[in-house]
């Protein structure tokens, strides 16, 4: 009988030890859901959607950051633009609040720097590979075969290569590493945007770059996160401030892998769309474009009414995994401070 009792005591103590013993803490945190429900918790909040937070990479800074290079004139009057791009593949970056992923980078960020030149400029890109693997830069555009960044892999740990070609054609193009396995090198973050302006400048506008990208953080060939400019939901809790009656121009490039398509839907407005930006006359007037891998273009629009407008993938799965943001349209006369979404 003793053994029976002993067994029962042991079992019941195990049962107690492994049941959920959750002790309450003192301070309370609060977050608000999309439907307005206020949730109180004594624990931690996991909310990449509405709770404003910052991570190492700043999408707001990247948004309007254009690099024109070190400019000089050649004897024949051609403008020479020199850039230095350094590849790395050992950085661990916080790609979403609390989630750390090994990104491979051009100049330390995903996407790499936005390179901008005028059609006909001579580009000289000094490429240094500080990674442990071979990398290259493959520019979309027109250039000699040996400048294509495919058959000239640059060795790691300081390998160098100089890409030199004339900027063209006019438009918005991606650049990315083209070392095999290609998908691996792209999805880890080795890509960026290359803009070629027409010799006669486009009308002045509030210009932005949006790279539509994603991260497969668990390596199952499906993206866990999507975003415009890397950080999921960033422009949702940090709305992009723009003004009414001001021309907005977005250079949009789709770098999402694994999923065959991506798209871009704008709320409360339509935009003129220039596929690949190669033409100066818009092809579409729409609020929805569909983009395949590395498909890109230029969007132009103006807001008539002030307020809060969403923009997001209408492939809603992507928007619910981060590819969504807000334009906070301020009245042009009196620029007002805007509320943050969800508060």
């Amino acid at each position: 009988m003793m053994a029976l009792i002993a067994t029962i005591v042991t079992i019941s103590s195990l049962f107690v030890a492994f049941s959920e013993g959750i002790t309450a803490q003192q301070q309370e945190n609060v977050f608000v859901t999309h439907s307005g429900a206020v949730v109180k918790t004594t624990g931690d909040i996991l909310d990449p959607l509405y709770t404003a937070s910052t991570v190492e990479f700043d999408p707001m800074e990247y948004l309007r950051d254009f690099n024109y290079g070190r400019v000089s004139q050649l004897s024949d009057g051609t403008t020479l633009r020199e850039f230095t791009i350094i590849a790395n593949d050992d950085e661990i970056m916080e790609v979403s609040t609390g989630i750390f992923y090994n990104v491979w980078t051009f100049n330390g960020t995903v996407p790499g720097p936005t390179i901008r030149a005028t059609e006909g400029d001579l580009l000289r890109i000094n490429f240094i590979n500080n990674g442990s693997k071979e990398h290259t830069i493959h520019f979309h555009g027109i250039h000699p075969a040996e400048m294509d960044g495919v058959f000239e892999p640059v060795g790691g740990n300081g390998g160098q290569f100089v890409y030199e070609f004339t900027a063209g054609p006019v438009g918005v193009h991606p650049y990315h590493c083209h070392v095999m396995p290609l998908e691996e090198h792209i999805v880890h973050g080795l890509y960026g945007v290359f803009i070629v302006d027409p010799k006669e400048e486009r009308p002045p506008a509030d210009e932005m770059v949006m790279v539509l990208n994603g991260f497969d953080t668990d390596f199952d060939t499906e993206n866990n996160f999507y975003a415009a400019n890397t950080i999921p939901f960033y422009y949702q809790h940090h709305p992009i401030q723009i003004n009414t009656d001001e021309l907005i121009r977005i250079y949009v490039v789709n770098m999402v892998e694994f999923d065959p398509i991506n798209n871009f839907h704008l709320h409360g407005n339509l935009y003129k769309y220039y596929p690949t930006g190669t033409d100066l006359v818009p092809s579409f007037y729409t609020d929805m474009i569909t983009l395949s891998q590395t498909e890109r273009g230029i969007m132009e629009f103006e807001y008539e009414y002030p307020g809060k407008y969403l923009f997001h993938a209408h492939k809603v799965e992507f928007s619910e995994k981060g590819w969504t943001g807000i334009f906070m349209v301020n009245d042009n006369e009196e620029e007002k401070e805007s509320d943050e979404y969800g508060t």
């Binding site: 195990l14 439907s35 931690d44 609390g98 989630i99």
Partner: protein, 392 residues
């Protein structure tokens, strides 16, 4: 002399402890700070979603760190769509620690959901719920409901089974042996059934780290040994107490069956608790039919006794009523870990009872277990159980 005694005691203790000391030094050398002997590869984090509860406008997920290193819960999703959530008490989970992830969500009843939890390195762990059902809230009504179900499943069928007693009383010794052996067959089936169930629960719901199969084996063996020891003691005391040997055996059988029925109650309570109502109806009917045979198992050894009605009723209660307690535990505080343990205890108890009955037959027929009545009895018992099991 005394001094000698003392020094020999010290020597004894020392000789017992010295190997331990060396073992500690060995462990310190292998695992201690600065040792990179076992620095083999990258330890992979792992968490297990143990439980998902659907409350008012909220889904609550219990996660446990079942990996070799501590983890940080970073994100929650439902159907692979990111959701804001809270994690209590906090997002840092040491080994084996649990946390409650609260996800505000307007869920729809009876729809399937996949709950995903992502940790700090971006790995996502998923648990699929086949049909959302409101979480069971402990209430008097529900406790009463479980008590009634437990009565139907446990007590009443066992009592019905006991009604075969007058029949068994009137039959010849050989036929009596047949019925005892039949009991063995029934119990053997139940024992294997319990083990299978324990292995199934551990495979489906228990994290690998708990080593469910070996947990079941260990607990089964411990339960068997514990009850074996206890029953030997009990049988020895029959000489000096009012209990006769057959009554003591019947009592052991009813305790064993009671432990088994606790496991059955657990299964029913858990099925109701997890919202699989159709499944639990099946369980209830199946167990009720099954359990009438358990009444025979208790009645058979008692059939050569007199004035047994009162004792039988008590044993029926011992065997049947644990189903009620099982349903309470399973319905109100289900955990796969405790399920495996209870099922294994039941299995061990049943195997122990089998040994006792076989022993009883053996003594009764002069060390011969290979009689036609014994062999056919066990076979028929197994077949009957199998058939009542699949007929539902």
């Amino acid at each position: 002399m005394e001094l000698d005694n003392k020094s020999s005691k010290v020597k004894l203790i020392a000789s017992g402890l010295i190997p331990f000391a060396f073992l500690i030094i060995l462990m310190a050398y292998i695992f201690g700070p600065g040792s990179d002997l076992l620095d083999l590869g990258v330890p992979l984090p792992e968490i297990t979603v143990e439980k998902v509860d659907f409350l008012d406008s909220e889904i609550q997920v219990t996660v446990r760190n079942t990996g070799p290193i501590s983890v940080e819960v970073a994100m929650a999703d439902i159907n692979d769509r990111i959701q804001p959530a809270a994690v209590e008490p906090d997002k840092y989970l040491n080994r084996y620690e649990t946390a409650l992830v609260r996800i505000p969500f307007e869920w729809n009843e009876a729809e399937p959901y996949r709950i995903g939890i992502t940790i700090e390195d971006g790995t996502r762990f998923e648990k699929e719920i086949k049909a959302a059902a409101p979480a069971v809230k402990p209430s008097i009504e529900l406790a009463w409901f479980f008590a009634i179900i437990g009565t139907y499943v446990g007590i009443i069928p066992v009592m019905i089974g006991l009604l075969w007693l007058p029949f068994i009383k009137r039959i010849s010794k050989q036929k009596y042996h047949f019925f005892l052996a039949l009991t063995v067959g029934l119990l053997l089936f139940l024992g294997i059934d319990s083990v299978e169930e324990a292995l199934e629960v551990s495979k489906e719901n228990l994290a690998d780290v708990f080593n469910g199969g070996l947990l079941a084996a260990t607990v089964t063996v411990l339960s068997f040994l514990g009850l074996y020891y206890a029953s030997e003691k009990l049988l020895k005391t029959t000489k000096s107490s009012r209990l006769t040997k057959p009554v003591a055996i019947a009592l052991m059988i009813s305790i064993g069956i009671g432990l088994h029925n606790f496991g059955e109650g657990l299964a029913i309570g858990a099925a109701v608790g997890m919202g699989s109502i159709a499944f639990s109806t099946f369980l209830i009917i199946g167990f009720a039919l099954h359990n009438t045979t358990e009444g025979i198992a208790i009645a058979a050894p008692m059939s050569r006794e007199k004035k047994v009605i009162g004792k039988l009723a008590i044993m029926g209660m011992i065997a049947g009523s644990p189903a009620i307690f099982g349903a309470w535990v399973g319905g109100f505080s289900y955990s796969p870990f405790s399920s495996v343990i209870f099922l294994s205890i039941g299995a061990g108890a049943i195997f122990q009872v089998i040994i006792i009955i076989l022993n009883m037959i053996r003594v009764d027929c002069n060390n011969n277990l290979s009689t036609a009545s014994v062999v056919s009895g066990i076979s028929v018992g197994m077949v009957v159980m199998y058939l009542t099991g699949i007929l539902i």
